[in-house]
């Protein structure tokens, strides 16, 4: 890797598990044409998509998930790319059964994102994805620093959360999420053509919850289509794995849904690389931010 081709590159990295990146990006692909913003830093790669300025999703792919990660830029590069194209192109690289790593480089001569992999029998795959200068800077959402009081949160199995949100589809467009400390519970209530309430009761369904943290009752309304985007695109094989999903609600009602997506090496690579046994650390983080509906939220900037 340390040849002269590296000159002028801000990022050059090798990724073993392309499927992990494809899975993570698939989770935030809620429609066919989406513009994503990709930010590179010394910590890793962040890919963001934003919509109607009230829904934002971020995929964090830390540098530890790469086999090598060489970052050399003074200012964090940020570029726009079509998310669908990125996912489709990356998934092309998963078709080969070989153990070849994917080489990612940025920027190419024309500011492209360059992908390449060469496997043992000299089969080569390559892609150059056109990037553009982003016209907006993604909003910085945060659920922790807005107030002294700790945010309300709970974590449940991802599949359970997805199932609940899927079930809330039929009644209508708005879903109220309430957290209640006594008895500890989370209530999803959708009203519209009909109404439907789903209760997650901490005491009765202990195996459902991973954590539950709530000091005072809160409740906020969210548009169903935004809520749905937070879980509807998780690939089935990731759901089967059923890691937790953490839901946090800030004082202003900003909802944060965080998923952990396992980034596995192919079985053949695990044998080669003994350090790959530490599967726990091999996860990428996905975060969704959903703003509550207006009437509950007069203080929004």
């Amino acid at each position: 890797m340390a040849d002269d081709r590296g000159e002028g590159l801000e990022l050059m990295c090798l990724l073993d598990s392309v499927q992990g990146l494809v899975d993570a990006l698939t989770c935030i692909r809620w429609k066919r044409h989406q513009d994503a913003i990709c930010e590179l830093s010394e910590h890793g790669v962040v890919i963001m998509v934003e919509e109607w300025s009230c829904l934002q999703a971020r995929v964090y792919f830390r540098k530890e998930l790469f086999r090598t990660y060489v970052y050399q830029a003074d200012v964090r590069p940020r570029f726009g790319v079509s998310l669908g194209l990125l996912v489709d192109s990356l998934s092309t690289f998963t078709s080969s059964t070989g153990t070849a790593a994917l080489e990612l480089q940025y920027p190419g001569p024309d500011m492209q994102l360059l992908l390449k992999s060469i496997d043992a029998n000299e089969t080569c795959m390559y892609a150059e994805i056109r990037t553009r200068i982003p016209d907006t800077i993604p909003r910085d959402f945060s659920t922790d620093e807005d107030n002294a009081s700790s945010p309300q949160s709970f974590a449940v199995k991802s599949a359970a959360l997805k199932e609940a949100i899927d079930d809330l589809e039929w009644p209508g467009s708005s879903v109220k999420i309430s957290l209640c400390p006594e008895p500890p519970s989370v209530i999803f209530r959708a009203e519209g053509h009909g109404d439907l309430q789903i209760d997650f009761l901490y005491n009765a369904q202990a195996d459902l919850f991973i954590t539950f943290q709530c000091s005072h009752p809160t409740s906020h309304n969210y548009k169903y289509k935004f809520l749905k985007a937070t879980t509807s695109n998780i690939p089935a094989h990731i759901l089967k794995d059923n890691r937790g999903s953490k839901v946090t609600v800030s004082n202003t009602g900003l909802l944060k849904v965080q998923h952990l997506i396992p980034v596995r090496l192919a079985p053949a690579q695990q044998q080669i690389d003994p350090s790959a046994n530490q599967q726990q650390s091999r996860v990428s983080y996905i975060e969704f931010y959903v703003l509550p509906e207006e009437e509950n939220d007069p203080e929004m900037p």
């Binding site: 092309t92 029998n121 089969t123 080569c124 795959m125 390559y126 150059e128």
Partner: protein, 311 residues
Amino acid sequence: MKFKAFLTNHGVSLLERRFIPAFEKIGKSCHLYLTPEHVILLHNVLNSNGVQAVAQFKKEALFEDYRISSQNEDRIAFTIDLALFARALRSSISMDGDKLQVKLVKKRAVAVERAMPYLSLESMGHRTAVVQDVPISNPLSRTDVHELQTALDMAQDLPRTLVQVPDLHLLQNLANRLKNVGEILEIGITQYGDFHLHISTSLVTIGSEFRKLRVLGVRADGGVLDGAVSASARLEQALQRGEASAVQVSMKHFVKSLQCQLTKPDTSFYGIGQNDSSLTMIFQFFVPGSRQMDDSISLHYRLPVLDPGLS
């Protein structure tokens, strides 16, 4: 015009399990062309705007006791609905007898005035016999049969260079993913044994290069190429040296043609026809249990080129 023969068990399974399912993926019906020596399935050969497929069997590969006669040099051709043909073959398997007679008949259905042609399959069990009539078109005219024969003869013109492509499953996986990226696929084949797949749109260029594959026909030494440059630059060099061809085909056609793997070919060769006229795929089958080529079966596909004269 007479045709009567007995399909062997092997013949039934070849057709029902392998060749008809593969042909069904590219179209509903095909021509069945019977000659004194061969039985040929031809798909889409009389027009040039889709995937063409031709499977030719020596009569012994499918039939025994094969009798054919017609005034057109004992050749008969007609179109047949593949789904109906497959269904008739499938249900004949469930009979416990070992004789499956196939013959051409004309029958008058109740409400119809004129007698209609059928391919009649009669499976004879120990106690019962089941007759299934598969409707077919009227036999093709002398000129049409001649055209089919010309198409067959043309298929003997092999591309000058053929490369043996790797595992078809792998190629299918790749094509299924590439089809999300673009609709036009560029295929390059060099005399050094390199096989290129390439898509280029306004937003992305993406491709794959398989190198050092087995070459049949005209070959050249690839050592002259600069190994350090990119795959597409390598193809460009080869094209300039006149040691490669590249054509554009429809991604949809390419994906469809990969369904040929349902016929379970043992080796697959790809080549570009003369004057970049088409992309040709030739499949070979081994005699079961050996690595010897079974010359009683041949199969080839041909994809139309989107813009001949380009490249």
